[in-house]
């Protein structure tokens, strides 16, 4: 199976540091604007909701509409005060769900 969800989280950080997190999902994000060869509009297929949780608490959320490029990519910053696990969740209108988690050691 093709790896769809990519995340990048530093494994170590200092207390109170602002770290950069990146995530990318391999997905066509069909906008619903495009036509196929027979002139029919291709149906929308978006994975439009992204949530990042740190130790079970939401730190960042994004709602992406059709103006987002395919293979959606997000980069954002989080200040870490304690060690913990980042959980990245992508979800679409259907039952598409993608999850990945990464641990950061804070000292």
């Amino acid at each position: 199976m093709v790896k769809r969800l990519h995340i990048k989280v530093p494994s170590r950080a200092g207390k109170g540091d602002v770290i950069r997190l990146m995530t990318k999902l391999n997905h066509p994000m069909e906008s619903g604007w495009r036509q196929s060869h027979d002139g029919q509009l291709r149906p929308r297929d978006l994975v439009g909701e992204f949530t990042c949780l740190f130790n079970g608490k939401e730190v960042f959320r994004a709602e992406l509409d059709s103006g987002t490029a395919s293979d959606p990519y997000l980069s954002f910053h989080v200040r870490v005060e304690e060690s913990g696990v980042f959980l990245f969740q992508w979800g679409g209108a259907g039952d598409e769900r993608y999850e990945a988690e990464a641990r950061v050691e804070v000292r």
């Binding site: 906008s31 939401e58 997000l74 980069s75 910053h77 200040r79």
Partner: protein
Amino acid sequence: MLNRRDILSLFAALAAAGLPLGGLMGSARAAPRDARKHLAEITGGIKPKKGRITITLPKVTDQGDFVPLRVAVESPMSEVDHVKAIHIVAERNPTPAVASFYLSRAIGKAEVSTRIRLVKTQVVVAVAEMSDGSLFLGKARCKISTGAGGCG
């Protein structure tokens, strides 16, 4: 005699009554008017202030379906003063709403990067909601040098 203001208020009244104006105009044809409507929904009548927002977009690109965008808001991100949300609107896209980012106080730095689609040369607007309820607005223009843009 109808002047421009009357016509606009008529449209607003029709839209408020739930008439399918979008259907009449064709769903794949959005005008800056839709973007203004969307912006009005975001701002909720509060007049946004200028400044504090930096949008980084390429000045010219030939890949409208893949435009790197970075939005940064100047904010200490403290308990009393932080950014709650950032909304991105591309006014000449078929769907003006591009993305909304909701930040918590744990975000140490109000800076988000993503990649967006732009159908043609246009102005991209970012609205930042602050914790004290004020709004800030920033703009950036991106030229799409080929005809196809994000639709192709």
